[in-house]
């Protein structure tokens, strides 16, 4: 046996060994991934930041009323950060800390639900396209191509121009622009597992094709989709903030972060804190999502990291 053949053989053995161990790990896939994720300091930091954000959001729902963040107090304008007002006050004398905390509900929900919307619609059609192929695939992929050809920012502006600025329209606009990415990814990952033996097995026991696609093939191609979804939350939060900043998102005077920054823009030299703090919150959320996304990628697919 030549050296090359030997290496080929050992490689093969190695592969089947990893395959075997992976199959074994499959039983506790979630726990395994979680254990790997736990060792990643960046991902843990991201997760903790996100948990804190969610807690802040819950706090704001429970303890901060709309009056708290909207009431005008003209005697209290442009106060710099202090113990009483940690982030200072804005041009109407409103407490910026409360307004920023109140704003978590917009950014977090836009981030989460626009991705969830894109995920559900995109993965549904992507799975069908990848699994069934043929003209179904052709139609779905061409429609997805067209959707991918409309930049999200532009679509957001159009939707707002037509339907007016509102939270729901913002969510819809970003959600729609999230679809095509998931269609492609779902299709690609379905294609990569479609030929597996467990699909044959499922067919042999008489499962319907639709059921195989969604109960056998899809769960086995989920990990790249989850990674993408996490990263997508970051970009969606950014897009929402950007649209609100130019006045095409959550309408003022509601304290969405982008809108808060836009509000602070008129007083850059007088009260820079108005711009600074909401921006830090946007950055923290997107940073946390990116870190978590990176960590999940490594945890769900350890092959990539080696």
């Amino acid at each position: 046996m030549s050296r090359e053949q030997m290496t080929a053989v050992t490689q093969k053995q190695g592969q089947s060994a990893t395959l075997a161990s992976r199959r074994y790990k499959k039983k506790s896939g979630f726990v395994e991934s979680w254990n790997r994720l736990k060792t990643n300091p960046g991902a843990m930091f991201g997760l903790i930041v996100l948990i804190i954000m969610v807690l802040l959001m819950i706090y704001s729902f429970l303890f901060i009323t709309k009056d708290d963040v909207m009431a005008i107090n003209s005697g209290n304008r442009f106060k710099p950060p202090s113990a009483q007002h940690p982030f200072g006050t804005d041009s109407m004398g409103r407490d910026l800390f409360k307004r920023t905390i109140y704003g978590t509900r917009y950014s977090l929900t836009v981030g989460f639900f626009s991705v969830a919307f894109g995920f559900i619609v995109g993965v549904f059609f992507g799975t069908i396209a990848g699994y069934f192929g043929g003209w179904v695939e052709e139609i779905i992929m061409r429609v997805s191509d067209v959707m991918a050809s409309i930049p999200g920012m532009l679509l957001g502006m159009v939707i707002v121009a037509v339907m007016g600025p509102s939270f729901l329209n913002l969510l819809l606009a970003i959600g729609i622009s999230n679809i095509s990415g998931f269609v492609r990814m779902a299709r690609a990952s379905v294609l990569s597992v479609k030929g597996s033996e467990f699909v044959e097995a499922a067919r042999a026991i008489g499962m319907s094709e639709m059921r195989i696609a969604f109960s056998q093939v899809l769960p086995n191609s989920l990990s790249p989709l989850i990674v993408t979804a996490t990263a997508r939350i970051a970009t969606s939060v950014l897009a929402a903030a950007g649209l609100s900043f130019i006045g095409f998102g959550v309408p003022v005077p509601l304290p969405e972060w982008g809108a808060l920054i836009s509000d602070g823009r008129s007083y850059l030299s007088l009260a820079p804190h108005l711009t600074l703090f909401p921006g830090i919150f946007i950055m923290l959320v997107t940073f946390a999502c990116s870190l978590l996304g990176d960590g999940l990628r490594d945890a769900l697919d350890p092959k990539l990291k080696q």
Partner: protein, 319 residues
Amino acid sequence: MLRYIVKRLLWLIPILICVSLIIFILMDAAPGSIIDTMINEEMTQEDIEALRRQYDLDKSVFYRYGKYMLGLLRGDLGTSQISGLSVFDLYISRFPKTLELSLLSLILGTAIAIPLGIFAAKHAGTIWDNLTTAFTLIGLSMPAFWLGLLLLIWFANDIKIFPAGYDGTWKSYVLPVIANGFAMSASITRQTRSAILEVARQDYLRTARAKGVPERRVTIRHELRNAWIPIVTQIGLMLALTMAGSAVIEAVYTWPGVGNLMIEAINRRDTTLACGCVIMTAILYVVMLLIVDIIYAFIDPRIKAMYSAGRKKKRGAEA
């Protein structure tokens, strides 16, 4: 190669039609119509009907779309409802400023990103790599418009070295280009790093090193050349995205580009102008993505080969 380009160009047509049709229908559905501002109380019902006919409002949206697109081919997108100027001319007059800003940002972003990406890949797993990753993550998570405002606070308000808005001098380019370029550099750096790592373990690199090729040459001639495709794709995509999303950064610096034109148009309910800007930008975006595809067919002989007849089968047999 020619076949590939022709094929891609042909595919461009249905995409462009679909994209512009979707946008046109959406804009057409906007409340209020172009004649609303022209109607006054002295007009009779017949006058209004005549006006409706004049603007084809009695016909289907597809008819109006067809007429609109034919107009586009002649460089006629109607006139702005507010200023009365030609929409096409307005767009063309603002376009160079958006292009300048995007290209300069891209140059800055790429100039930072490629060396940094290579550096990170060469030191993969070390503290340098982690620092670069942290830098790119910050770049990706920092909203460009926020960075733009911070730069304004520091450099235009505190130490007044750069102007706060566009004033025609080179100085007014500095801050927007940095704000825009930083975000771009982050994603290009990430792409460069992973592309270089992807090819890092190839045999031909070992061969080149074994031959005694200096490391710098190995990196540039062998590694980078083979890692080019995803990097170029990313660069092209960033350029397309920046131009399409230029509104936000242009709003920060009151930049006289297309983005601000679009915002003004939408805010003033100047539907003709808004529709023209959006459709032109969308077309531009699609064309730029196509150009990226064609460029990467040029730099990758494998893709070129895939599309020249005859060789395709041979490749299949090898695989």
